[in-house]
Amino acid sequence: MVEHSYNLYLLLSAILFTIGAIGVITRRNGIIVFMCIELMLNAANLAFISATGIQKALEGMIFVFFVMTVAAAEAAVGLAIFVMIFRLKGTISVDEMNLLKG
């Protein structure tokens, strides 16, 4: 029973991860791309929490704490970078990032 529900949770997390990954590839607005990355990280969190249920070990829960902290740090740095880009270019669309080409 536990094993079965673990597989279901894993499936859900895989679906979330895939939605996030597709979003990263298809979306053009930088902020939305970043939100999709956050979705992928949270899919991993879900996988960790559900794995903790069947593995009877707590490391997974601890890992989730760290993933959340890292996600927050990434969000802070990311927002700062977006603000910098917006000041310089007036847009944060990833299609407009075309100065560097070879």
């Binding site: 894993l10 990954a21 990263v24 930088g30 970043f34 794995a51 490391e59």
Partner: protein, 477 residues
Amino acid sequence: MMDDLSLVMPEVVLCGFGLLLLLIEAFLGEKSKSLLGILTLIAASSALFFVLRLSRLNGEAFFGLYSLDPLASLIKGLILVILVLITVASIRYVERENAIAGEYYPLLIFSTLGMMIMVSTTNLLTIFIGVELMSISVYVLCGMFRENVRSAEASLKYFLLGAFASAFLVYGISLLYGSTGSLDIRAYSEAISAGNYSSVLMLGVALITVGFAFKIALVPFHMWTPDVYEGAPTSVTAFMAAGVKTAAFVTFLRIFYTAFLPVIKDWGGVLWLIAVITMSYANLTALVQENIKRMLAYSSIAHAGYILVAFVTGERSLSSSIIYYLFAYAFMNIGAFTCVMLMERKGEENLDIDSYAGLSGKHPLLSLCLSIFLLSLTGVPPLAGFMAKFYVFSTAIKAGYVWLAIIGVLNSVVAAYYYLRVIMYMYFKEPVKEIGEIDLSSPYFLVVFICIFFLLYLGIFPRDLTLLAEGAVSVFF
């Protein structure tokens, strides 16, 4: 508790200095920049002192979350030397390019700290923290020219793709944890030898591979590399090419050679293909680059491909060639990028290869130094680049991957064209345009001479380093 702390002394010292520098920068402001550079040097050398003092120790600390072994000590030494070299080269560079803020040095220290953490552990949680500490600091470092659009774009690209790669890494770790119930990579090797080949475990390994392939820029996960290397401040580019790649590759090596060696054997075909594509694509694209930073970026992708040639073989005893290559690679790249830093000046960047035309007439010493680095990148004896390539390809041949070695050698021949083209421009071509005054101050040349010294030393007496590297990779047995 005290024993644990004594094992992590290098990291503690570096972290303490990083925080101190952050405070000094905040309270003293702009005028503290040169002081910060000197303090960074003190931090790096005291951390190096502790690394050397602990280098004979083996041990675990903090409930197995951190482990010290010969591999960790060796690579930490290399990473700290890289930090020292980059800092010395940066002292004048930061002064010259006023745009760089004082946070530059603390960020360098923190990303070095991340690298040191990620190479000296067998626990995926600690690896993850190290990778992120390193990456987040480097995202900011790339955008250090706040008024420069190219730098900002490089920062954004690196940030989005780096975070994307981290998501793959974390999801892979979560699947590994789900299938084995442990975060320690040694547990995975037990699980695999006990016959756990569940699809969840294999998917986890694949996702972790993708995550690291982004960080070390293997084709087809290399898209960010040329753009970011070109847009970032050149000192940061050198730091990324040497430091980030070394740390990521060693961690990748440790994870795979400790835990997933049977998997390497099973997936030999895929990794073989990635190695071939990485080398060939990067070398062919580098041929048509006009910007020297982009050219060196593609060359760094190609070098990752050469290292992968040795990695694919899955021979634990031969993996010392990878360590040797990483050492040679770090010194060649720092040297070459330092020469590029000398050439580019504030305002107008002499980054296209045309501006190197006829350089030998005006600046014979600089052209000679750059030529040495380019020859080492090509793989000309007696420089370290030659020995590194020799070890890597002979590893492939010994392990029976003859075709891979042949493709690698052919690739080095192709690569020789674009390295030698720059040398040809410098010595046999008339100057195309006026490049103006070049800031030939001593810190740059100190770095350049140290790099040349190491390249010659490692190239002529490779035995010293190979012995150390063999000792280091013995941790995989």
